[in-house]
Symmetry: C2
Subunit: 406 residues, 2 copies
Amino acid sequence: MSLIVQKYGGTSVADLERIQNVAHRVAKTADQGNRVVVILSAMAGVTDNLIGMAKQVSEFPDKRELDVLLSTGEQTTAALLAMMLQSMKHPARSLLGFQAEVRTDCAFGNARILDIGARRIKDYLEMNTIVVVAGFQGCDPDGNITTLGRGGSDTSAVAIAASLKADICEIYTDVDGVYTTDPNICPKAKKIDKISYEEMLEMASLGAKVLQIRSVEFAKKFNVPIHVRSSFSEEEGTMVINENADMESLVVSAVTCDKNEARIVLKQVPDTPGIAAKVFTPLADEGIVVDMIIQGARSGGNNDLTFTVPQTQLKQALAIGEKVAAEIGAKEVQGDENIVKVSVIGVGMKNHSGVASKMFTTLAAENINIRLISTSEIRISCVIDAKYAELAVRALHTAFDLDGKD
Amino acid sequence: MSLIVQKYGGTSVADLERIQNVAHRVAKTADQGNRVVVILSAMAGVTDNLIGMAKQVSEFPDKRELDVLLSTGEQTTAALLAMMLQSMKHPARSLLGFQAEVRTDCAFGNARILDIGARRIKDYLEMNTIVVVAGFQGCDPDGNITTLGRGGSDTSAVAIAASLKADICEIYTDVDGVYTTDPNICPKAKKIDKISYEEMLEMASLGAKVLQIRSVEFAKKFNVPIHVRSSFSEEEGTMVINENADMESLVVSAVTCDKNEARIVLKQVPDTPGIAAKVFTPLADEGIVVDMIIQGARSGGNNDLTFTVPQTQLKQALAIGEKVAAEIGAKEVQGDENIVKVSVIGVGMKNHSGVASKMFTTLAAENINIRLISTSEIRISCVIDAKYAELAVRALHTAFDLDGKD
């Protein structure tokens, strides 16, 4: 007998028929002698509809109240699934965030889980009752409802799996696993059987939407094995687990392409000490996340300072950039949304040299100009012009031997 | 400065525009220097839609889970109103049943309020924050969500008003008060300015849908003045208060017509001791509420036993009646849905004789046959054929001097 946590995303519970499908899957898992805890998202589209309603009320809806509103989405699906399981003669109970003791900080809209009591989950499991927990929601120390941010149900699931010491956390979604790259860009993309937490973290932070990044952090910290798979098929998906021996045979595991960044260039920045702090402190103060930074030397003691920010924050960042440029005597500020960040990721890189040079050579062979470069221990990223995105991904996928047989 | 509890029903919060209207009304009350607690229903139609969804899942949806589902309706309106007030620069906070400590028994779908902690309501009021409480919902001793039954938000409002010792509980609805009778039946119906708790209780139990009966019981027990009024006008409505001197000038305050009962006749029941227990015990065991009972003597020691049950329970009651009839040797069982119960109500009756005879004479003058009669200290009810319902109501309204000038 195993203790299995299953999380079903919005497309898996999009309507009553699909919730019925989930109910059958859950019932089957229980019938096989397992104890089951289910974490649910809201029906696909519901959260966006609720946000739309709130935006009609106010351009900047009160964050505490928005969370009260949004949490109804998961409450609805949790109640419906428990009801279905009951009608199928499977004892089942829904629990909301506060009932499952999902305790968070009070950052409404983007709360972090502090700990999980889970007493009632355990009590129900003892009684052989299937527990259906509303994902995405928690409760702050004052008893206010909080939500965990976009994709937060993944984190609910992994955190609950960790607190219950579950044998596995299955994340059901509308794709059948994690791919070597986006199959919409590269038809030769392959499903990955096993991937390490570290690689998955890099992929999640580079815009792969399969798992919320925090859920992977949680899984890594508490060593929770995650199985990403489709709720529409019986196929095995991708195991996200601790790095192990057979993974290292691959130097590069995946190629990603992040289209959500924008580039800002401050032209001819005077080369004096403290300039970087003058530029980046006001950006940080406004909560703008700067990703890559490069300072290029030019003749005459003036340097161009280039960095990337999320596209959604470009306008705000440019305004700050203009102000700072005037103060420090930079010549000009340019913004560019027509860029993408392509990356190769792999734990095997740790023990292999030559990955960077292979990446640069591959891009050069396609006449693709590299505008910025950044690296981590298991990742190399290059910012290139957006028009080359697909070409670059396909070329790198082939160069690093990731192409499938078809 | 007064402490005012305002409850807005489903039609008053049916869409964002109407919730905006409510927000303005609440803000105005606060601007006049009052502390305000608002209790909200779900948007009109939402609860029925959710029940419809649950019925698609199961013919008899699990009651605990149904309450989890239904409580999202009031959660939505409470969050939206608090959001609107915030955007109007009025500090406001929503509280759900469990947060407002509305403690109930665990009769899911029809829970009774045991007590109200209201600590957080009081804390927010101290901070001059408008408190918006989701009506209709509470929390049982195990922390499960419960709902209070159809019209339960009225009871939420009055119970919270009682626990806060509020100066008044205003119940906003889509009619402008309590009428001497249904204006749809009798165009001469008048709005009542003041009515006693006792009279309101009789009216509520006779199918007048203005207030949930339990809310009136609560108001009577804790002496909470209720003001029933329209959210669409500024007119004064009806005060529901303790019986006082000027009310007694009227012998009859209202005429009601309840179309939700059905009549069952057991023909030729043997006249032996214990028969009544044999008939009514199995009905009570199945939760069927028997209202009026009459046993008519016939020649030969056989009596007809006639009683009324809610129309929704007629089928079930007939099945039990057939079984019992066979056991006790009654000749036949008849059911009849084509009846109504017309009643006259008034605290003045206590000190006046002749009300009953006037009622019977009035009906007789219209050739209306009375099938059953029941009375209380302040009410006389007659069951008549449904086709005479409107005629009887109008005739009684005139006979007891209730007609308005138009």
